[in-house]
C-alpha cells in the first residue's frame, strides 16, 4: 500500500495577470519504506510537490493522501498537529533556529507532544546519536559546520518518529564530504529504521542512493531508467 497517494493533481500559481500551471493532472504513489529521489530542472515543481505532500500548500484540485489522511482537504488548524506527527521536513538552508543549541533545535518538535521532559531528553539524545552529533548537543548552529548543521536538521526531522521524511535539496549547501555523510545517514534511516524518504535533489550522487528516482519536467513525472 502506498504511503503517499497523489491523484489527478492540479496546481496553478497566479503571477500578476499570468497563470502558471505547475501540475496538470499529476498522479504518484510513494510506497511505505521507500527512498524516492525527485529530480528535475529548476522550476519543474519539485519543491511545490514536496510542499503539497507536507500540507504546506493546497492543490488547485486533486487529492493528496498521506498515511490514509487526505491532506489536501484538511483545514490549516488540523494540518499543523498532523504535520507534527507525520512529517519530518529538512530544508536546503538547514533552517535551524540560531538562538537555540543543537539539542534545543532537535527538541522543538517534541515540545508539541505530551512527552515528559525526561522522555524528551531521551529522544533528543537518541536522535543526535543517530546523526553522530551527541558530542555537539550544546553547540549553537554558528558553532557547527554546514554538514553538522544539516545533520542536526535531520535529527530534528526524525526525533518525533514521523511517518514520512521530506528533504528539499538537503545537500545543496554542502561540500562533497558532508554531502556523502548526509546521504549515508539517509540511506541508514531508510534501510535500518524503515523510514520512508522523499528527497528533492539536483545531485546525481544523491539520487544514486535512492531506491527510486523520478524525473519531473514541466509538471510531468517520469521514472528514471
Amino acid at each position: 500500500m502506498a504511503l503517499v497517494e497523489i491523484r489527478d493533481l492540479y496546481k496553478a500559481f497566479q503571477r500578476d495577470s499570468q497563470r502558471i500551471d505547475v501540475f496538470t493532472g499529476l498522479s504518484l504513489d510513494v510506497p511505505e519504506g521507500s527512498f524516492t529521489a525527485l529530480m528535475g530542472p529548476s522550476g519543474s515543481g519539485k519543491s511545490t510537490l514536496l510542499n503539497l505532500i507536507a500540507g504546506l500548500d493546497k492543490p488547485t484540485s486533486g487529492t493528496v493522501r498521506v498515511a490514509g489522511a487526505e491532506v489536501s482537504a484538511m483545514s490549516p488548524t488540523a494540518l499543523a498537529p498532523w504535520r507534527s506527527r507525520h512529517i519530518g521536513f529538512v530544508f536546503q538552508q538547514f533552517n535551524l533556529l540560531p538562538v537555540l543549541t543543537a539539542y534545543q533545535n532537535v527538541e522543538l518538535p517534541l515540545l508539541l507532544t505530551r512527552l515528559s521532559k525526561k522522555e524528551r531528553d531521551e529522544r533528543v539524545r537518541i536522535a543526535l546519536g543517530v546523526v553522530g552529533l551527541d558530542d555537539r548537543m550544546r553547540h549553537y548552529p554558528r558553532q557547527l559546520s554546514g554538514g553538522q548543521e544539516q545533520r542536526t536538521a535531520i535529527a530534528r526531522a526524525i526525533v518525533a518518529d514521523p511517518t514520512l521524511i521530506l528533504l528539499d535539496e538537503p545537500t545543496g549547501q554542502l561540500d562533497a564530504k558532508s554531502s556523502q555523510e548526509v546521504l549515508v545517514l539517509l540511506q541508514r534511516l531508510n534501510a535500518e529504521f524503515g523510514k520512508t524518504i522523499v528527497i528533492v535533489t539536483h545531485d546525481a550522487h544523491a539520487a544514486d542512493r535512492a531506491k527510486t528516482v523520478l524525473h519531473l519536467e514541466k509538471g510531468v513525472l517520469e521514472a528514471a531508467p
Binding site: 521536513f89 538552508q93 538562538v99 508539541l112 521532559k117
Partner: protein
C-alpha cells in the same frame, strides 16, 4: 512552561534591544507612578483635616492678614470651643535651595488644636516656656543634621532680617499626610519683632460639633462682614481642598504627561516587537513546518511581549514604590505622605497589560497568519 526557554532564547537574540525596551517600559511606568502619586497625594492632602476645625481667612485672599484682635471675638461665637492662629513666615535657611515650610503659631493653642503633631511632653513644655525657640518635623533633623538645642538662623523673606531659633522639640506626625518638614515658632515672637502689628495670617477654630460647621462659619463671617477685614470661613477640609483645586490644572497636566509618556513607550515597544517579528519571518515558517499551530505561535509572540512589558512594569512600578518609600520622599515638604498607592500600582499593572496587548497583538497576528510557503520561499 516548556516553551519558556524558547521565549527566553528569542528575547536574548538582541540582548541590548531587549534590555533597552524593558528599560523604556520601566522608566515610563516609573514616571507614570511618580506623576500619578503627585495627583493622589494632593488629593489625600485635600481630604486631611478635622471636621471640627474651621479655618478663618481674610475674605479678600489668604495673603491678606486678619487683626489679632479677632481672637477674642471669635471665642465669643456660640459653638466655638477653642481658637488658634498662624502666620506663614517664609523664612529661608542657608542658601535656600532646600525649601521647608515655617510658620509662626500661637504655640499652646495650636498644639492643643492639632493633636496630630506629636511632641514628647518635656519638649512641649520646653518650647512653650521659651519664646525664642522652635519645634521641627523629624525629617528636618535628617535633612540638615540639626540636633536638639541647636540654634538655627532663618533669613526672613516676608519679615526681613535674621531670625534665630533654638530647636527645643522634634515632632512626629500621627497622620502621614501632615507635613513632617515644618518649623513652627512662637507667633508672639513674630508679633514682637514686627512692632506689635497685631496680625494673624489665619485663624483655626475648634467647634463643638461637625454638624454645626455651616452655621458657625456663617456666624463668623456675619460677625466680621462690615469690619475692615471681612472673613471667609470654611472647614479645614474645604480649606485644604481649595489648595488642591489650585493644583487642579497641575493634576490634569500630570495625568496628561503620564499618558503621553506611556503612549510614546507603546510606540517604542511595538516597534521593537515588530522589528523582532520581521527578522524572524523565516523561523516562524520553519516552526509552522514543524507543526506549531497558528494559535501557539500567536501565544509565543504574546508571551515575549508580556515578558518585556511585565518585567518593565515590575521594575518601574516596584522601583517607584521602593524608591519613594526608601527615601521618604516628600518633594521638600510640598507633598507630605508621598507614597505610591495600591491603586496606582493596579492602574500601572493594567497599563502594562494593555501595553503588552497593544505591542504584541500585531506581530503575534502577523506570525499566526504568515503564509508558510511564501515565507519559506523568501528564506530558501
Amino acid at each position: 512552561m516548556k516553551y519558556f526557554p524558547l521565549v527566553l532564547a528569542n528575547l536574548g537574540r538582541h540582548k541590548r534591544r531587549t534590555f533597552l525596551t524593558i528599560a523604556s517600559v520601566a522608566l515610563a511606568l516609573f514616571l507614570f507612578a511618580s506623576l500619578r502619586t503627585v495627583v493622589t497625594t494632593i488629593g489625600l492632602a485635600a481630604q486631611f483635616g478635622s471636621a471640627r476645625r474651621l479655618v478663618v481667612t481674610n475674605a479678600t485672599g489668604i495673603v491678606f492678614p486678619l487683626p489679632l484682635s479677632y481672637a477674642n471675638r471669635l471665642r465669643a461665637v456660640p459653638g466655638i470651643e477653642a481658637v488658634s492662629w498662624a502666620n506663614w513666615f517664609g523664612g529661608r535657611y542657608g542658601d535656600g535651595k532646600r525649601f521647608f515650610a515655617n510658620f509662626a503659631v500661637d504655640a499652646e493653642s495650636y498644639l492643643a488644636m492639632y493633636p496630630e503633631i506629636v511632641l514628647p511632653p518635656e519638649q512641649r513644655a520646653a518650647w512653650l516656656q521659651d519664646k525664642s525657640s522652635a519645634i521641627i518635623g523629624r525629617r528636618l533633623l535628617d535633612v540638615f543634621g540639626w540636633r536638639l538645642g541647636q540654634n538655627v538662623t532663618l533669613q526672613g523673606t516676608i519679615f526681613a532680617g535674621d531670625w534665630t531659633f533654638t530647636i527645643l522639640g522634634v515632632y512626629t506626625p500621627s497622620d502621614a499626610v501632615l507635613n513632617d518638614d515644618m518649623l513652627l515658632f512662637h507667633h508672639a515672637l513674630l508679633d514682637e519683632r514686627i512692632g506689635r502689628a497685631g496680625i494673624a495670617g489665619w485663624y483655626v477654630v475648634e467647634i463643638d460639633h461637625p454638624d454645626h460647621a455651616a452655621a458657625i462659619a456663617k456666624a463668623i463671617d456675619d460677625l466680621f462682614r462690615n469690619s475692615s477685614a471681612p472673613t471667609k470661613t470654611g472647614t479645614e477640609q474645604a480649606f485644604n481642598a481649595s489648595f488642591a483645586t489650585m493644583w487642579g490644572n497641575v493634576s490634569l497636566l500630570m495625568n496628561t504627561i503620564g499618558m503621553a509618556v506611556v503612549f510614546a513607550i507603546l510606540l517604542v515597544t511595538a516597534n521593537a516587537m515588530m522589528m523582532s517579528a520581521r527578522e524572524r519571518t523565516g523561523e516562524v515558517a520553519v516552526l509552522k513546518t514543524i507543526g506549531f499551530t497558528d494559535r501557539r505561535l500567536f501565544g509565543l509572540v504574546m508571551l515575549e511581549a508580556g515578558f518585556i512589558t511585565l518585567t518593565g512594569a515590575a521594575l518601574g512600578l516596584g522601583g517607584a514604590k521602593l524608591f519613594y518609600k526608601g527615601t521618604n520622599f516628600n518633594a521638600a515638604g510640598f507633598l507630605p505622605g508621598f507614597d505610591v498607592t495600591g491603586g496606582t500600582l493596579a492602574v500601572g499593572a493594567a497599563i502594562a497589560l494593555l501595553l503588552m496587548i497593544a505591542s504584541g497583538l500585531f506581530p503575534a497576528l502577523r506570525a499566526a497568519r504568515l503564509p508558510v510557503v511564501e515565507a519559506l520561499r523568501r528564506v530558501e
